[in-house]
């Protein structure tokens, strides 16, 4: 053999798609075949998905078998294609060369398969069904070999004859049926002769039931059995008959699953039976019916959609199916249906190990299971009133849903073709090693083989990846296409010849998706989508997606209404719809806000253009106080009268509150940052308003003869404000030297009043209420005092515990020097050098105890009152403040206005156990979160954790509890606060 020929031969091999051309050349040359045959062989191999693998398989055949393959054109071509796509089938042929004939076969018929597998176990007919010649390993081996022969035949139909996925998967289900029948025959051979006779039917479930089976998969079944009633006699002994049936079922499971010299077939999985793995393996028909009547959950009914008698007693199988059909179609009428379905859908989306998510075909959003699940869901919803959509097969069901208008025709067709593509891909992946996997391989050569097996020969990897991407994108939008788009059709003008959802069906659908008022929702949809305007056109494409996002929130109905109002306001603004259409993150975030928060929705509806900031996560991040201060300064300098200055400040505040609430709802921030953010924007607003007020009064009076500062108190002083909080403050002023006291006091009072007026004057921006009730003498005392008057007032105090309120005092706006002088005045009071005397301690404990009894509103549940209840805010704050009063003089870190910081300092100083601190802080944060969630959900503040829907539902949703889990929030809240309270009892009261 000359080198030149070798080179041209390897070049030809490379052209034919070989990777290891040298090895291929050596192999092909070592066989004594003529050039024509060699050329044909290489030609055949070039069509294989993996020519190297196919050739290696050929080399591994015994010589006689290889000659047989080479000799026949059809067999040879078929061999190359099958073994090029499946290493496992190549190995099978090397082990069982007698199956080579199958390569040129292409008739596949369910009855023939069934008979053939029964013959393989030498089954003879008995009155109760076929019975094999035995149940030993030799029989099981025969069954396995026959099974693989048919699997090979199906692979030939699939790869060589390019049958569609629908047929291939039906063949696989036929083969599974036949195998179950043969397995049953094997089990029968094992029965003791005196067994009570029984009838048994094997019901296929899942993919086998739907006749859409994979190459490799568990086969889901349910067993049903009955005693045999002899002619004219009473029914036989049911208990004994069930015993026999259980033996048969176990025997069948073993016959299919047992590992023998020839391997195993697949696991028979009976876990879908009533009560799952804990339940009896076999039940009578009556027992099945009884179970589904009483106990079954929604997913079990969904599973029953796919039930199909596969083997055993046909009559009993049909009786089972008839009985179950009724049950299935009642399921969607059950009251828990919607909640159940939503929970199931979340589970479908959640159960993907993240690191493999991008290679998953089966699980996760847009995975095969999602398609199957979504189709089943629509079947349950609409199958109740429409018998046309009840097929157990996904593709058939999808087709009929489209035909009868439950799904758009084009959407149905796109999804069907994507589903076929993805399932075929899954088949091809499984074929290679006959292993159960749903992951796209990573290695390049695996991808290349996969691509070529799917028919991409030019650039297999790139073509495969792109095609997969296209289909996966379609499927990822499945909820939009299947669930929501048809709803728009229901309110649209009908194209001739097109079916669509009836209003009743649309209402059923909306309800199943979580809309409480379907009639209202349809009205909004109609208003949003009717007409020929550009706005209506864009909204028609947006709404199917938005409806799905709304449905995830606590109140989809409110969200749809708010969206309608937004659109009426902004719809003609060019950027608005473009933003929602092009920046889908903005639209999704908006949907989330509208469907879960009245507070956020209100802020947005007051000024809809804020929706623009939802496009970028960085735009939603709350601004720091410094940046806000700059903005406020700029705003003040732009306006020359107090009203418009403060209006600008309040607009900044509104926008910032929207930003904080959005970040909160979208989970982009944490509770402590929210408190800081709200406190920060409040401070800056007061600063701005103070400046404007001073300028206004100064203009009126011709100057201000005093310095003014504002002290934040309570949660404001601690930087712990929530959405619903008022700002607690005290006003301090200090007349300039040589001015009249009365003059100075009037000016200061004028400023304070003007400040409060400016911040609360009605406008489209939310008011900021200034609360000065914590000042000396409360409401009876003067609103504004001089520093000297404060000093005189505090000097009259007798009990150190009266300084408790001052622990939270912090200068937040106005003259800084004066602020420092004020805190200098109160520091020795709030951090007394000697701490508390025993008597003062007792007094303080008693005061707290009395407050618990008296301050709680009548009828309030103390376990749910966030402020004054057991383990609520007051409990925790009093613990911190007691520590501060007693020890702050000695422990500088305790000199803080912040609750958590004070508790941390107490731990660091050894005054509090770290575990106790954790209990207190969790309760305090939980109460804070609940209070914030109450405002977000309802738009107004409340002290009591709502204990009943719908308020509970909304608050629970914002706190991360799923639909129907509101009670869990109550339970958790009570637990966390009970534990905190036991710390309070110990640490505060000294019990």
């Amino acid at each position: 053999m000359s080198t030149g020929r070798a080179i041209s031969a390897t070049a030809a091999l490379a052209r034919a798609g070989f990777v290891d051309t040298t090895a291929a050349h050596e192999r092909v040359s070592s066989w004594s075949i003529d050039d024509d045959l060699r050329a044909s062989l290489i030609d055949d191999l070039s069509s294989a998905a993996d020519p190297d693998q196919a050739l290696a398989a050929l080399a591994d055949l015994p010589p006689e078998a290889r000659r047989q393959v080479l000799a026949d054109d059809r067999t040879r071509a078929s061999f190359c294609i099958v073994c090029g796509a499946s290493a496992a089938l190549g190995r099978h042929l090397a082990r069982h060369p007698e199956h080579i004939a199958v390569l040129s076969q292409h008739e596949i018929d369910a009855d023939v398969i069934r008979q053939d597998l029964l013959d393989a176990v030498a089954a003879v007919d008995t009155p109760l069904g076929p019975c094999a010649r035995g149940s030993g390993f030799d029989v099981l081996d025969e069954l396995r070999v026959a099974y693989r022969r048919w699997l090979l035949a199906i692979a030939v139909a699939d790869l060589v004859h390019e049958e569609r996925f629908d047929e291939v998967s039906r063949h696989l289900a036929d083969l599974a049926d036949a195998t179950l029948e043969a397995g049953l025959a094997v089990a029968r051979a094992d029965l003791p002769t005196d067994s009570e006779p029984c009838r048994i039917a094997v019901i296929a479930m899942g993919k086998c039931g739907g006749q859409e089976l994979n190459y490799i998969s568990d086969v889901d079944v349910i067993f049903v059995a009955e005693a045999v009633s002899p002619e004219g006699g009473d029914a036989g002994d049911e208990v004994a008959a069930l015993k026999t049936a259980t033996k048969l079922a176990t025997g069948l499971i073993r016959a299919c699953g047992e590992h023998t010299a020839e391997g195993s077939i697949w696991e028979v999985d009976a876990a879908l039976r009533p009560e799952g793995k804990a339940g009896a393996l076999v039940r009578t028909l009556a027992s099945h019916i009884g179970y589904y009547q009483r106990w079954a959950t929604t997913w079990e009914f969904q599973a029953l959609l796919k039930a199909r008698p596969a083997a055993g007693d046909r009559e009993l199988g049909s009786a089972y199916l008839d009985a179950m059909a009724d049950k299935v179609w009642e399921a969607a009428g059950r009251p828990d249906f919607v909640v159940d379905v939503q929970r199931m859908r979340r589970r479908v989306e959640e159960h993907v190990p993240a690191r493999e998510a991008d290679r998953q075909l089966k699980l996760g959003r847009g995975g095969l299971r999602d398609v199957e699940f979504s189709v089943q869901l629509l079947q349950l919803v609409h199958g109740r009133s429409d018998v046309m959509v009840r097929s157990p097969t996904t593709l058939t069901a999808l087709e009929s849903l489209a035909t009868w208008g439950y799904v758009g025709r084009d959407d149905g067709a796109t999804l069907a073709s994507a589903y076929r593509f993805l399932r075929t891909l899954e088949h091809r992946i499984q074929l290679q090693d006959l292993r159960r996997t749903h992951l796209i391989p990573e290695a390049d050569h695996d991808l290349r083989r996969l691509g070529r097996s799917m028919g991409y020969h030019r650039d297999p990897v790139a073509e495969l990846t792109s095609e997969w991407g296209t289909h996966a994108r379609e499927v990822r939008r499945i909820h939009e296409k299947l669930f929501y788009r048809p709803l728009l059709q229901a309110v649209a003008r009908l194209e001739p010849g097109e079916a669509r959802l009836t209003p009743e069906a649309a209402a059923e659908r909306l309800q199943a998706l979580g809309y409480a008022d379907p009639a209202g929702a349809l009205r909004h949809l109609e208003a949003l989508t009717s007409g020929v305007s550009r706005r209506a056109a864009i909204q028609r494409t947006l709404l199917p997606v938005l409806l799905g996002w709304f449905a995830r929130g606590a109140d989809p109905d409110a969200a749809l209404l708010s969206f309608r109002r937004m659109s009426e306001d902004l719809g003609s603004t060019p950027w608005y719809l473009r933003l929602l259409r092009d920046e889908s993150a903005a639209a999704e975030r908006m949907a989330m806000l509208l469907s879960s928060s009245r507070y956020s929705s209100d802020l947005l509806l007051r000024s809809p253009d804020a929706v623009a900031m939802l496009a970028e996560e960085s735009d939603i991040a709350p601004r720091g106080a410094d940046q806000l201060r700059t903005e406020v300064t700029a705003a003040l300098s732009r306006h020359d009268n107090a009203e418009s200055s403060v209006a600008a400040v309040r607009a900044i505040r509104r926008r910032e509150l929207f930003r904080i609430s959005a970040a909160d709802i979208l989970g982009l921030t944490d509770t402590v940052s929210i408190m800081r953010g709200i406190s920060g924007v409040t401070e800056v607003s007061i600063e701005g308003a103070l400046q404007a007020a001073i300028e206004a009064i100064s203009a009126d009076r011709g100057g201000i003869p005093t310095r003014i500062t504002i002290i934040g108190m309570g949660r404001f002083g601690g930087g712990e404000l929530g959405y619903g909080s008022d700002a607690d403050v005290m006003f301090v002023h200090d007349p300039l030297p040589g001015t009249d006291d009365k003059e100075a006091a009037d000016a200061a009072l004028g400023v304070a009043n003007e400040l409060r007026r400016l911040l609360s004057v009605p406008s489209s921006d939310p008011p900021l209420e200034i609360d000065a009730d914590l000042r000396p003498e409360g409401r009876q005392g003067p609103l504004v005092r001089t520093l000297a008057s404060y000093a005189a007032y505090y000097a009259r105090w007798s009990a150190p515990w009266e300084a408790q309120a001052l622990l939270r005092a912090r200068a937040i706006a106005g003259d800084q020097e004066l602020g420092a002088a004020f805190t200098g005045l109160i520091d020795p009071l709030r951090w007394p050098a000697d701490g508390l005397t025993d008597e003062a301690l007792r007094e303080m404990r008693r005061l707290k105890a009395r407050m618990e009894a008296e301050r709680l509103p009548r009828g309030a549940d103390p376990t749910l009152h966030t402020k004054l209840g057991r383990g609520g805010l007051a409990d925790v704050e009093w613990v911190a403040q007691l520590m501060q009063l007693r020890h702050a003089a000695a422990v500088p870190a305790l000199r803080t206005t912040e609750t958590i910081a004070a508790l941390d300092a107490a731990v660091a100083a050894g005054l509090l156990e770290a575990v106790d601190r954790d209990e207190l802080v969790s309760a305090w944060l939980m109460a804070t979160r609940v209070r914030n969630a109450i405002v977000l959900a309802r738009g107004k503040a409340g002290d009591q954790v709502p204990s009943a829907p719908p308020d509970l539902t909304g608050v629970a949703y914002l706190m991360g509890y799923g639909p129907g889990h509101g009670s869990d929030l109550l339970e958790d809240y009570r637990r966390v606060t009970r534990r905190a309270r036991s710390v309070v009892d110990r640490v505060f009261y000294g019990n």
């Binding site: 009724d326 129907g964 009670s967 339970e971």
Partner: protein, 444 residues
């Protein structure tokens, strides 16, 4: 409409049922019943029946009063004692919130939750209660208590009311689908015992609720009064509810291990250890009344100290004699429970204590072969035997600090239960009873 619902509605038609009673249980274990006309029942199946939860002990405060009772069609049963002409039927209900989520206040749901925790660990929980009660000639307020007879344990008393009574009660129970295992005259005068067949804990609890009502009804029919009060007579034994417990894993008894001491598996040993460890804190639930502690103080069949023993009738937990042919019948007997408990809550805390033992792998201390009452206090201390709470007050204090009980009952029921029991104890403390009068008045 599903077939069972259909069946219920049809039966009501055919059997001329005039009233349907919807049953549920309050937190203290009192059966609550609301009657609806048959015509309203269909709507009740669909939407449930709204009611004011604040009117039911432990269910809700006024602000959250709306609750929904949903009849469970599978519990339909015709009440056999009302005569044929105007039939009455009953159904048990589950209690829901208006959003369809189950109510944390519903004792049935407390038990369901605990059972599903057991199921997560692979277990199903079976119970078999032996219910004791007294038959009295007179109803409350009709003079001093007078038992219907003066027979004793196992006495056969063919002419006595007790005999007829037990026969009628059992017939009636069986007519309602509740299987009775065993019945006999108990140790006290007029005291009866009826044992229910073992079943899963939820069915048993439902059955016990029915049982107490049936017994009271049958007694009324015979002109006597039946009471489940734990200790009506100072000098006669109290009415306990010894309960046999077992866990199953699928079809296998998880307490059974051939060859182990007393054939008790590790699961069983840890379960018993859990019961012993947590016995004080669950007492307020298993023995929920002031009067319950009078029974425990009385000796006899009621345990006073926390210990276990093989076939030891003086222990808190008794491991019955093993029957070699019945591996699946391996079980343990918990002896402090009394007949006046709320069975849903009691089974929940018992199961939770046992499961805790299994989860944490508690070691079982050595069993006691002695008659515990015969031991001296010093001996008991040496053997490490702690007493059960001796009063409701002690039991409340033990429960108050218990995370186990709080988690099992749920915070709502936990909080209500404690408040209610503290109020009961406070009221009791203020009483002056006959014993004090008799003892002190002549003296002081």
């Amino acid at each position: 409409m599903d077939k069972q619902t259909d069946f219920v509605l049809r039966t009501i038609e055919e059997r001329d049922i005039r009233f349907v009673r919807l049953w549920f249980t309050d937190v203290l274990g009192t059966l609550k019943s609301v009657a609806v006309a048959p015509a309203e029942l269909e709507a009740a199946f669909d939407e449930g029946l709204g009611f004011d939860g604040s009117a039911i002990e432990g269910f809700a405060r006024v602000s959250e009063a709306d609750m929904i009772a949903k009849p469970d069609p599978s519990t339909f049963s015709i009440l056999p004692w009302r005569g044929e002409s105007a039939g009455v039927a009953r159904l048990f209900c589950d209690i829901h919130m208006p959003d369809g989520s189950p109510s944390y206040a519903d004792p049935r749901w407390v038990l369901r939750r605990t059972l599903s925790r057991a199921a997560d660990m692979g277990f199903t929980f079976y119970t078999h209660p032996e219910v004791e009660f007294y038959l009295l000639k007179n109803a409350p307020g009709e003079g001093p208590l007078e038992p219907i007879d003066h027979y004793g344990y196992f006495d056969n008393s063919p002419q006595a009311i007790g005999y007829d009574f037990r026969r009628n009660a059992i017939t009636m129970l069986e007519a309602m689908g509740i299987s009775v295992e065993f019945s006999h005259h108990e140790g006290g005068p007029g005291q009866q015992e009826i044992d229910l067949r073992y079943a899963d804990a939820l069915s048993t609890a439902d059955n016990l609720m029915t049982f107490r009502l049936v017994v009271k009804e049958v007694a009324l029919e015979q002109g006597v009064y039946a009471t489940f009060m734990p200790k009506p007579f100072a000098d006669a034994p109290g009415s306990g509810m010894h309960t046999h417990l077992s866990l199953f894993e699928g079809d296998r008894n998880a307490f059974f291990e051939p060859g182990a001491p007393y054939q008790l598996s590790k699961v069983a040993r840890s379960f018993i250890a859990g019961l012993l460890t947590h016995a004080p804190e669950i007492s307020a639930v298993t023995n929920q009344f002031v009067n319950s502690y009078k029974r425990l103080a009385g000796g006899g069949e009621a345990p006073e100290w926390i210990c276990w023993g093989h076939n030891n009738r003086s222990a808190l937990v008794r491991v019955p004699m093993y029957k070699p042919t019945k591996g699946n019948s391996t079980r343990i007997e918990f002896r402090s429970l009394d007949s006046a408990c709320n069975p849903y809550l009691a089974f929940s805390v018992i199961l939770a204590a046992g499961l805790k033992g299994i989860e944490e792998g508690y070691e079982l201390p050595p069993g006691s072969e002695d008659d515990v009452w015969a031991l001296t206090p010093a001996e008991r201390r040496a053997l490490g035997m702690a007493p059960l709470p001796t009063s409701l007050n002690q039991a409340i204090q033990a429960m108050e600090g218990s995370e186990l009980v709080a988690e099992t009952l749920g915070e709502h029921v936990f909080d209500f239960f404690l408040r209610n029991k503290k109020a009961e104890w406070d009221e009791y403390r203020r009483q002056v009873n006959q014993w004090e009068i008799d003892r002190y008045l002549p003296l002081l």
